[in-house]
């Protein structure tokens, strides 16, 4: 078995990801697992800090631009700090109003997509992993083949289909095609297959139905991996561009990334305003990440490694 599966089935909170102290104990040099003296540690720290600064610089630059008066944004040579800090750009962007509506649209579509993906995928994965109806292997193989077909490739026929279903410019039009997530089914199939069968078998002997076993035993055991699937479905749906871009034409139904690209709410010189709306667009998930950092990082471990 791969090392990843041990992580995947390890109870919440006990993964080595979170026990920095263990590293300390085991290698014994205090701060780095690479060994080496304090000099190596210091060097690594400097390198990492430099890279981290480089990595956040674009975001800092966006924030700094957004709080400048418009006239200072294009100064040559470039000025890093505004001579006078102003939230003017934010006032203008929020007054235009659309950005909050797009956030709401993103929230609604991403939430519904996530709920449906988790529900449909876990049901299907359980069916594939734990039951033996005829044709199971064929259907599983077809589902897995779906992993290779990028949904982006289907935008043209999908749009025609949405026209026929009269779903252009509706939330369902945005949601439904995104609900099909064969990769998530695959991840969950692998996870369910690795669960010990004993508990379920005991329940079967007690006369519990499959549904009851699924709801009361399997799902609670799978909470971490389901959370991972949910988190990543949510992030990718929230940020998905191409499909919502194709299927929405009315700004009233556009999601945040689409509205930001397609609609222009202000005119003239507007670099500060563009950066202000960019910062506003980046904020929701950044806040979510800062708050749920541990769960999200662990989520990656689950989706990624249990797929090994």
């Amino acid at each position: 078995m791969s090392t990843g599966d041990t992580t995947a089935t390890r109870p919440v909170g006990s993964g080595p990801l979170w026990t920095t102290r263990r590293a300390r104990r085991s290698v014994g040099d205090g701060t780095t697992r690479l060994g080496g003296g304090p000099l190596v540690t210091a060097a690594l720290l400097v390198i990492t800090a430099a890279l981290a600064v480089l990595w956040v610089l674009p975001l800092v630059w966006a924030v700094l631009t957004s709080v400048k008066p418009e006239g200072e944004t294009t100064a040559i040579p470039l000025r890093w700090l505004p001579s006078q800090w102003t939230l003017d750009a934010y006032h203008k962007v929020l007054a235009a109003g659309d950005i909050l509506r797009w956030m709401a649209n993103s929230l609604i579509t991403a939430t519904l997509t996530t709920v449906l993906v988790v529900l449909l995928s876990s049901l299907a994965a359980y069916g594939f992993a734990r039951t033996t109806f005829p044709g199971r292997r064929t259907l599983l193989a077809i589902t897995l083949a779906g992993v290779v077909v990028p949904p982006q490739l289907l935008v043209v026929p999908l749009f025609s289909e949405m026209v026929a279903l009269n779903l252009v410019d509706t939330y369902w039009g945005v949601i439904l095609p995104q609900v099909v997530a064969p990769a998530m089914v695959y991840i969950l199939v692998r996870f369910f297959q690795a669960l010990p069968r004993e508990v379920e078998e005991a329940a079967v002997i007690d006369g519990a139905s499959r549904w009851l076993i699924f709801w009361r035993i399997v799902l609670p055991l799978s909470r971490p991996v389901l959370a991972a699937v949910a988190i990543f479905t949510f992030i990718s749906t929230w940020n998905n561009f191409l499909w919502p871009f194709v299927v929405t034409t009315d700004p009233g139904t556009m999601t945040l990334p689409v509205g930001l690209t397609v609609v222009q709410g202000s005119f003239g010189l507007r670099y500060a305003q563009i950066m202000a709306s960019t910062v506003l667009a980046a904020l929701p998930l950044l806040i979510v990440f800062v708050v749920f950092q541990r769960q999200i990082v662990r989520g990656v471990a689950h989706t990624g490694l249990s797929g090994q």
Binding site: I76, R216, P251, G252, G265, F267, G268, L269, Y271
Partner: protein, 436 residues
């Protein structure tokens, strides 16, 4: 109790929440058809967008009974693609702005509905109120498909302070007309010495960058060149004339008289912060520049070659195809269009030359400075050939912009640029016409 019922409650709550959210959405998804609410789309992302907002607000004030929803989509292929897709998806707005030269690509495809002559007459939107050449372009198959709002030529903006210091102004503080390539280059170079940064700024590359096409088409038409044969089926580029225009374009940037690399908003930012003496751009940046406080004026594009033609297109208002349109809805729609035309002197403040003649002839318009200073260009317009792939932000423009931009940025010779341009046009001519 048991976890199941807790989950059931939670799931139920979620379902109710979702259902109500979606119900709210589907209520908005039905198209209004009672004449009490209108959806309007435009692509005015330049300074003219603010002007249009003001006009729409005026309409709202005059017609409180109509709920007007106005949207500005990103200029260019994004807008035109969305407009067509909305039509195909049955979700088109009631009124939309369309460049007149795009009509041959939209009307034959069934993406637009024709105007009703009776209603047009009732609102005074008739032939005699428009310039003949423009009105003729608004027809397809003997029916009116577009109501022209304006003509917007390619013009020259200049910084009054910079040009005065460079000795380029006359006693009335007007730019002394520049004639011939040498005079133009000399003026830009003189301005560059004053600013210490740039002489001419203009878009030389960029996302959906079409300015190289505008510049070339202007210069090439000043030499009398044609793009296509009169039937629109074959390439008719005159190599010698095309190369003369391209060579001049390269000279502008290679001599340092013009900026070598700038995208659209970058060039506007440089001009409005006083770092350039001149800017070549469409006429729609007046509002932006007025707001920036830069001392500027505008004039016709200089006669670099034989005549003073300038590339131009025009905005018009069209009725995107709808499966149904009630008489009440139609009336409200025509009301909005007529309002915008009658008040197009406000529109002209944003830089465009009004198409509606009662406005164009008015003293009020003629008094506008600098907006009426270049109005005479309407007699020498370099319009697109009337084919499905032409018009503002069309595939033709994008392909030509891409082919000619490297001549300005110095990455291709004029001959290479011309070869790329011809290849692009040939490809378009060979493409099966999708709108027939």
């Amino acid at each position: 109790m048991s976890p199941i019922s807790r989950r059931a409650v939670l799931g139920g709550a979620l379902a109710v929440g979702a259902a109500s959210a979606l119900a709210g959405c589907s209520a908005g998804a039905g198209l209004a058809d009672d004449g009490r609410s209108l959806r309007y789309w435009d692509l005015f992302t330049g300074g003219d967008g603010a002007t249009m907002r003001a006009m729409l607000d005026a309409f709202r004030a005059e017609h409180p009974e109509i709920d007007l929803e106005a949207v500005t989509l990103q200029w260019g292929p994004t807008y035109y693609t969305k407009l067509a897709m909305a039509g195909a998806g049955g979700r088109a707005p009631d009124v939309a702005v369309l460049h007149l030269a795009r009509l041959p690509g939209y009307a034959p495809a069934g993406l637009l509905d024709p105007f009703d002559p009776d209603l047009l007459a009732e609102f005074d939107l008739t032939e005699e109120n428009f310039p003949a050449a423009v009105w003729q372009r608004a027809q397809y198959n003997g029916q009116v498909y577009a109501i022209p709002l304006d003509t917007h030529p390619y013009v020259m903006y200049y910084n009054v302070d910079v040009c005065r210091e460079a000795g380029l102004l006359d006693a009335d503080d007007q730019l002394i007309p520049l004639r011939g390539p040498d005079a133009v280059l000399a003026a830009f170079t003189a301005a560059k010495q004053v600013t210490g940064a740039y002489g001419l700024v203009t878009e030389t590359y960029g996302t959906d960058g079409v300015n190289p096409w505008r510049m070339w088409w202007t210069l090439y038409r000043q030499l009398g060149g044609e793009l296509l044969t009169p039937d629109g089926r074959d390439l008719a580029i005159d190599d010698a004339k095309a190369l003369r225009a391209l060579t001049f374009m390269q000279q502008l940037t290679s001599s340092g008289a013009a900026i070598r690399e700038a995208d659209g908003s970058g060039s506007i930012a440089l001009f409005s912060s006083g770092q350039a003496g001149f800017m070549w751009q469409g006429d729609w940046e007046v509002t932006t520049l007025l707001a920036s406080g830069v001392p500027f004026s505008m004039t016709r594009f200089p006669a670099v070659f034989d005549n003073a033609s300038a590339q131009a297109d025009g905005h018009s208002l069209v009725l995107p195809h709808r499966r149904t349109r009630s008489p009440a809805q139609a009336r409200a729609t025509y009301q909005l269009i007529a309002f915008l035309l009658r008040h197009s002197v406000t529109w002209a403040e944003g830089g465009h030359v009004p198409a509606y003649q009662p406005v164009a002839r008015s003293a009020e318009y003629r008094a506008l400075r600098p907006q009426s200073l270049y109005a005479s260009v309407v007699e020498e317009l370099a319009l697109d050939p009337p084919v499905w792939f032409a018009g503002s932000a069309s595939t033709l423009w994008l392909e030509m912009g891409a082919a000619l931009s490297p001549v300005l940025t110095g990455r291709a010779t004029p001959a290479e640029g011309l070869a790329a341009a011809k290849a692009a046009v040939r490809r378009l001519l060979a493409t099966p016409n999708p709108v027939q």
